[in-house]
């Protein structure tokens, strides 16, 4: 089977863009086969044969089994992100079908960003106050970036909440 590996970087708030790219690849005859850190391995498929979806989901065997029961194929996971694909002929493939569950997904992402960002902030401040440690700025930079990400995720959430005022 013909394969190719590509490197791509996506920020956490670009997960929809990442998914879009993976589906463009599938539409052009390359479907995701495995994921690594910023590395995506594709295998030849018929153009448009698959739909690919990704989401942040804590490690949960039951969830993977549940998805497989509904006809989805587990591709793999990279840290907190999990990847699935499903044959297009088996029907429309989405992970979330209503606003509430899309919001809970964003909440999940927000919680992780808050946790890691908060830890970096504390370590950064402690290290900056300690004259012996010189690398506190790295943690502060990470914290700033994570807080920026949190802001972007929050913006997406607000847009959905506004929509929910009118319908579900």
């Amino acid at each position: 089977m013909e394969r190719k590996t590509m490197s791509r970087w996506f920020w956490v708030w670009q997960f929809e863009k990442e998914e879009e790219w993976l589906n463009e690849m599938a539409a052009s005859g390359w479907v995701l086969e495995s994921v690594g850190f910023c590395r995506y391995t594709f295998v030849r498929c018929n153009p448009g044969e698959y739909t690919v979806r990704t989401e942040m989901h804590p490690y949960d065997d039951n969830y993977v089994r549940f998805m497989e029961e509904t006809g989805a194929e587990y591709i793999g996971r990279m840290m907190m992100w999990i990847y699935f694909r499903k044959k297009t002929e088996d029907g429309v493939f989405d992970l979330y079908s209503d606003i509430d569950s899309k919001i809970s997904h964003l909440d999940r992402i927000g919680k992780v960003l808050t946790g890691i960002g908060g830890a970096n902030l504390i370590i950064g401040v402690v290290n900056s106050l300690n004259p012996g440690a010189r690398l506190g700025w790295i943690n502060l930079l990470c914290a700033t970036l994570l807080m920026y990400g949190l802001g972007r995720i929050h913006g997406k959430k607000e847009a959905l909440e506004k929509e929910r005022e009118l319908h579900e």
């Binding site: 989401e55 989901h57 969830y63 549940f66 998805m67 029961e69 509904t70 006809g71 989805a72 429309v92 989405d94 992970l95 979330y96 079908s97 209503d98 509430d100 569950s101 809970s104 997904h105 579900e168």
Partner: protein, 105 residues
């Protein structure tokens, strides 16, 4: 019944589908069939909802399906009552809509 919050469409159809025992994929199929293809439950949405509904005691994990080893769920008495109240609420909504827009149908 007064003040009972409205159910989401997803919750409503999940509860309705579980009037008979079904596994996850069965719920998705039943929902699509009942709504003539209008309502499609995505698997991630369904998984979250099933866990919440179990916690609330509106549905219960019945048994493992012997052959496929898939988990089956079933509506509880509490869930049935919630569903009955919701149908009453929906009837009221439909009645009021028809009363005011009556001539337009």
């Amino acid at each position: 019944m007064p003040g009972t919050p409205a159910l989401t469409e997803a919750t409503y159809y999940i509860l309705l589908s579980l009037y008979s025992p079904r596994h996850g994929y069965g719920i998705m199929q039943q929902t699509e069939e009942l709504s003539s293809g209008r309502v499609r439950l995505a698997a991630g949405t369904l998984y979250g909802a099933l866990n919440t509904l179990c916690d609330k005691g509106w549905i219960v994990l019945k048994t493992m399906d012997e052959d496929s080893r898939r988990k089956e769920y079933l509506l509880t008495d509490k869930g049935r009552q919630v569903l009955i109240n919701e149908v009453k609420r929906l009837k009221e909504l439909a009645r009021n809509g028809e009363m005011i827009l009556g001539e337009e149908f």
